[in-house]
């Protein structure tokens, strides 16, 4: 998995410094350096970049939505904010991550690896419907059964039960057993009498 990176930054000093650090990370390749956001769309297309690091100060109020626009156009694109002055936390919301001017070299490397990891993970989170098997596990969890009991009853390994439970949480956004119970009831997967006695 290789990262093709565009750096968008007005300062030659900062661009060069960041370039030096990133080129040293395996799997990372800086494919373009630009000093204004003007021609980013074409640049991303021509270089097939999948990551953009852009100084937040280059985007004024009118083009503050550029990160979202770019991501809409290029769903594979990860957009990272380069923060050289203090900015409102809300400004950073549209970005997938932040690199700060006083981050150490090590911190930048760690962050870059984390960004790449997050981007890879996101690819898998498309389907939202629970599978038949996941619904069975959900119902059992909602009834208060332990993983071991569920595994025995369904004739699968505990490991498989845990993996089903992870997928259920990923798809529904709900982590706690009591929350999953509410979810099961709201979707008429179980009856009230089966849980609250």
């Amino acid at each position: 998995m290789s990262n093709r990176i565009i750096i968008c930054e007005a300062s030659e000093i900062i661009t060069t410094g960041l370039y030096e650090i990133i080129q040293g990370i395996s799997g990372c390749d800086v494919v373009a350096r630009v000093d204004t956001p003007d021609q980013l769309t074409e640049k991303i297309l021509s270089t097939d970049a999948n990551m953009l690091i852009i100084n937040t100060n280059l985007l004024g109020f009118t083009d503050r939505n550029l990160p979202q626009q770019l991501k809409k156009e290029y769903p594979q694109l990860t957009v990272i904010a380069l923060m050289t002055t203090y900015v409102e936390p809300s400004t950073l919301k549209p970005y997938d991550g932040v690199i700060e001017i006083n981050d150490t070299k090590l911190k930048v490397i760690n962050k870059m690896n984390q960004f790449a990891h997050d981007a890879e993970k996101q690819d898998k989170t498309d389907d939202v419907e629970l599978s038949k098997r996941e619904i069975d596990v959900l119902v059992a969890v909602a009834k208060g059964m332990m993983n071991k009991e569920i595994a025995d009853q369904m004739n699968i390994s505990i490991h498989t039960v845990i993996s089903h439970r992870k997928n259920i949480t990923r798809k529904t956004g709900i982590k706690s057993v009591s929350g999953l119970t509410v979810y099961a009831l709201l979707n008429n997967l179980i009856d009230e009498n089966e849980v609250y006695k």
Partner: protein, 231 residues
């Protein structure tokens, strides 16, 4: 490398609040009343008997959740105000925020009819018990241990390493509640009130996350230095 706080004691207190309004609810926890005028952070802190560096350290964590606390800061700063601050935060959650959310939720429960209402009620009650148990454990077991350690008294065999800050259940379930209210409860049940309560939940969630960061990054390292000094 520890980062510089965004604000110094010479900045005006209101300037800091304007940049991060989330700091506003912290003031009463330090005993700082509104009406502080244009005074600086240092002036307001001194007038209220609050250690300025502790105040800034905590505000810094509330402003930047990646802020790292330097061990030297922990040793250098007067921590007398830390436990009272944490206790005041607990009171704020238990006596103000949760009852407020509960009041809204009660309306939603009433409007949802018995089938959905009962389970929401059950869900929330179970959650409240968990929350109370958690804070009670800290207040009755952990904090008294730290207090006696500070006084140099001999203590039982408890050690801070046994205390892993685990607020994750509290935050996770709050997030679950948000998911249920926004995504899964039928749309015609008090939508306006659900939006309001969701905003409250987001705020409380963020506050709790910062609160556990303070326990992780300030309280635990501080107690560890006390424990090491004793040996």
């Amino acid at each position: 490398m520890s980062k510089q706080p965004f604000f110094s004691e010479k900045s005006k207190l209101y300037e800091m609040i304007a940049v991060n309004p989330k700091l506003l609810p912290l003031l009463p926890r330090f005993g700082i009343q509104l009406g502080f005028g244009d005074h600086s952070i240092g002036e307001v802190c001194r007038a209220n008997g609050v250690d300025t560096r502790l105040f800034l350290l905590i505000c810094n964590i509330y402003t930047d959740d990646e802020a790292l606390v330097h061990p030297k800061d922990i040793e250098a700063i007067d921590m007398d105000g830390l436990l009272p601050y944490l206790l005041a935060s607990h009171r704020y959650y238990l006596d103000e925020r949760f009852p407020h959310i509960e009041e809204h939720l009660q309306h939603i429960i009433n409007a949802a009819g018995p089938k959905y209402g009962n389970m929401l009620n059950h869900f929330y009650n179970e959650y409240q018990q968990e929350v109370k148990k958690h804070f009670k454990y800290e207040e009755e077991e952990v904090f008294p241990y730290i207090e006696s350690l500070r006084k140099g008294q001999s203590t039982n065999n408890f050690s801070i390493s046994q205390f892993r800050v685990n607020h994750s259940n509290i935050e996770d379930t709050l997030e679950d509640m948000m998911n249920i209210l926004v995504k899964y409860l039928p749309g015609d049940i008090l939508p306006k009130e659900r939006i309001e309560i969701s905003t409250d939940i987001i705020e409380l969630s963020a506050d709790l996350i910062s609160h556990s960061l303070i326990e992780d990054q300030i309280l635990i390292p501080y107690v560890e230095t006390l424990e090491n000094a004793k040996q």
